[in-house]
């Protein structure tokens, strides 16, 4: 049985989560290995959340927010973007491949885009193989 990565996704309530719901209501199909956490705004996603996710054994973390300029809270998604760029550097220092963390803009009407995104990300992450963070943590502790 081939390896299925686990992706943890933080979706903002107004655009991305609605988009993901739309994928559902329009019965679009995508791979089942994504786990969604709903936050009011991508701006709420803290660095610690992402790190926690890797620590708990996520093979990849996806953050989705409204398109630039469409944020329900004006600029939460920009805040998120900054934090994301910082995180990218940081996880690389930790030896986590940058492809394992992604930030994407998904609007409420983009159910199909969300579905495609998940499929495509799963593929890339599957190529990278399982994320070792959890194991190493367990061994050193």
């Amino acid at each position: 049985m081939e390896y299925k990565p686990t992706i943890l996704a933080f979706l903002c309530n107004w655009c991305s989560y609605t988009g993901a719901d739309l994928a559902g209501t329009s019965r679009l199909k995508y791979v089942p290995n994504v786990r969604v956490i709903r936050v009011m705004c991508s701006g709420r996603v803290e660095t610690t959340f992402v790190l926690k996710a890797f620590r708990e054994g996520a093979d990849a973390v996806l953050i989705c927010g409204c398109h630039p300029g469409d944020c329900h809270y004006h600029e939460g998604n920009y805040k998120c973007l900054r934090r994301y760029l910082l995180l990218q550097k940081y996880i690389q220092q930790m030896g986590i491949h940058p492809d394992r963390l992604r930030l994407e803009w998904v609007s409420a009407s983009e159910g199909n885009i969300f579905a495609r995104l998940i499929d495509e990300m799963t593929e890339t992450v599957a190529k990278l193989g399982p994320c070792e963070v959890r194991k190493t943590m367990e061994t050193i502790m």
Partner: protein, 598 residues
Amino acid sequence: MSGEKFCGIYLYHIGNGNSDGVNTRELRTYAESLPGVGFVWDSREYPVMDAARLLTDIRKNNIQKVILAGNSPGFAKSFFTKVMLSAGNKAKDVSLVSFSEFNVLGREDISRAKALILCAVKDVPFEMVAVPEEVPVHPDTLVIGGGIAGIQAALELADAGNKVFLLEKSGTIGGHMAMFDKTFPTLDCAACILTPKMVEVGQHVNIELITCSELKSVSGQAGNFRVKILKKARYVSLSTCIGCGTCSTKCPVKVPSEFDAGTTMRKAIFIPFPQAVPNKYLIDPVNCTYIRDQKCGVCAKVCPVEGCINYEENDEEIEIQVGNIIVATGFRLFDARRDDRFGYGKFPSVLTSLEFERLVNAGGPTGGEIRQPVVDKKGNRVFTLDGKEPQRLALIHCIGSRDVNFNRYCSRVCCMYSLKLAHLVREKLPEAEVYEYFIDMRAFGKGYEEFYRRIQHEGVHIIRGRTAKVEEKNGRLLLRTEDILNDDLIEQEVDMVILAAGLEAREDARELGKMLGIATGEEGWFLEANSNTDPVNTYSGGISIAGVCQGPKDIPDTVAQASAAAARVIQSIITGKTRASLSEVSLESIEVNIRQYQ
């Protein structure tokens, strides 16, 4: 001020349709009597529009302004503007008096017709001077019809903190929308979005639900109606029934279920559908053998609640007092039997759209499996899982709509729901071929065109050309259609045909209209106060209309109208006053107002 301009009036004798009744001779003499009117043309003396002759008349009587009065004189406007311009006047010196715009329907409205002409001559907007007197308003409201329109209107009012009586003919609220499987174009299931609202209505402290009831009579006037309601006996106590369903399981009588559009059988003691509100059982006296002829009586025996079922219960008549009435009685589906070419009622596998909605619905006869109906020994059509899975299905648009032999109007929703049904078939039977035969694809709403595209790409065969007849050929159904865009004749064999039947006014609409004093159009839809600026109110004060009973509509438009109808009511409750019937405004009062206005 241009009111002083010297007027010529062109009176149309024959308006298209219903204002023939207006006596043009009388109007003519009235118009001629008005000061500032120089000339009155009577269309009967001008059978053909003769520009030259009109021009000479205009010049001779140096007319500076022409008023076109008729049912819908707009059809001649640009002709007159040209004439006026060549007579050296301006285009805006042609003004219209459209009788139908102001509900001038016949003799009885002649004084309004006069008033309209007077206003035009004086160049005063009719709405500004034809104001009914204000009357105090009773804070309670009656909403007739428990469909989505009625539900929305009721909630709107109740949330504003007012008492609402919601009158429903059947045993539950929900109307047609509750019967649908999914809703276009978002495809979320109708029940999922409707039932919460139904529950809300059921629980709302301000809403008094009156099911199984009919309007008996309405007296009084705007602001204070006395309404008599005939409450049919349920024979099951609303207060004590726990909805356990034992009675129904034991009941021996089986009749076609209204909610499932006849695709399933229900008992004589039944609950319309699982999420019904109120979620209580009731007996249908027509089919219950005990009530008909004192036989059986099982349900009462098995009912766990003492005295919950009471065969002796009688219809009762209640009277309520309300200040406003909102009519939201909806529609009935076109009876596909009337167009016998499609073999509905003759071939079991020819379904109406509503039947199919139930068939694909998880709560339907086959639990959402699409199967051809089978015919049992008695010759009845039965929907079961034993039926064959259809390999080919066809949807035929415009059944009973856009057709002079039945209804001329477009039913507005059929195109979209047909696309939706096509999608549902593809989703449940990916192997099945779906053919859709249409005339014009009317995907006009928000996200509709996108949905249309999507269905096209899903591999549904969407063919321009309305099927002419359905015949039976070696066990399958044979459709004969011209494929217009490919200039070809298609004789398609299919296993199941779905007829996109149109919407029709309810059989009792006219009667109800009379009772409430609201006019109905030729097709039986209720007439709004003004087709542009006031689509939800009527000429009889205190009474509004909402939803399909005013004309075919999809769900969002219906909901919008329902809320809109509530607006006037809330307004009247806030101010404590409402306006009496526009139809009762006298010519004299208008004349007075005009004098003050200028």
